[in-house]
Symmetry: C2
Subunit: 200 residues, 2 copies
Amino acid sequence: MAYSSAPTRVMMAVNESSLKSYPHPSISCRTAFDWTLSKLVRSNPGGFHFLFLHVQVPDEDGFDDMDSIYASPADFDQMKQRDKIRGLHLLEYFVNQCHQLGFRLQLEAVASLVYDGLCIYFVSQIKCEAWIRHGDPKEVICSEVKRVQPDLLVVGSRGLGPFQRVFVGTVSEFCVKHAECPVITIKRKATEAPQDPIDD
Amino acid sequence: MAYSSAPTRVMMAVNESSLKSYPHPSISCRTAFDWTLSKLVRSNPGGFHFLFLHVQVPDEDGFDDMDSIYASPADFDQMKQRDKIRGLHLLEYFVNQCHQLGFRLQLEAVASLVYDGLCIYFVSQIKCEAWIRHGDPKEVICSEVKRVQPDLLVVGSRGLGPFQRVFVGTVSEFCVKHAECPVITIKRKATEAPQDPIDD
């Protein structure tokens, strides 16, 4: 029941927005990340260690490439290279946020000290790691949980109704059932949902 | 994205053990509570405010009272009174834990200061509130979330397989889908599962 001095390892599954061009993270995963920082990490960045996992689906839906003509093996290499860069840019967004926010939280903690005299913090920025995997997101997330053994898995959710879920499936629902660690599901705010709720 | 100075309000649904006599909390909800303290609250008890909700199911299964004979209105009054006392004792367990652990966390934080020089905390014990409601747990939990608007709902889960779930339903699954706030599902450890996994 005592807290361990080792930081709480928070794995976060992140994906790209289906609406905005890269390197924009999806609304759900940005909401989940912001919520985790403000409500769980709070003024204690040294107590948490983020693990960002981005799962790339090989040729997700094909629509992007409807007009493409593949004429040589080099075309495929180029496409793979492009996907890799997109993934790296997405992860870079979260890693940068961790570094910037760590400093900001420290400043705010020091500022709050002036007001309520409660705490003094001398902590470094939020520690994090990030990596890319390929495959079916829900399966890969659960197998990475098994391998990495985080303390907590954070998944954003579009909060789809039962009818919408039938067609798109939900990664979050699968992870709550199958991931071998506590899972937190954070729904997108209703005000942030795009016109088509399946978009993100 | 900045953390607010207001504490994170964590609602926790708690229930009695089906194995041990009262006032024992169930394995799932005790596991969930201990995990939340050690992995989320950590050394920052002043940053969290616990809200314990215990939902009592009117005459849950009747087995306890198979041999009872009800002969007067007073018999029913007595039974209600007994249920109320059981519920209060259960909540008392968690409220006491919050008060005792707040002090312990402070001592540990001060002790860790000696070792790593990271933090100084002068915080009071973990603040909490507790109350009882009656009805179908999953429905009542979601309606209480709507009313109280916590930042986070914590639900323990027995981690039942699909076959077992058909017969007992799962409160946690319903809450993840319907509660209007982020939900964390914490499964009972496999080593702690009783012989019959439906027990708790």
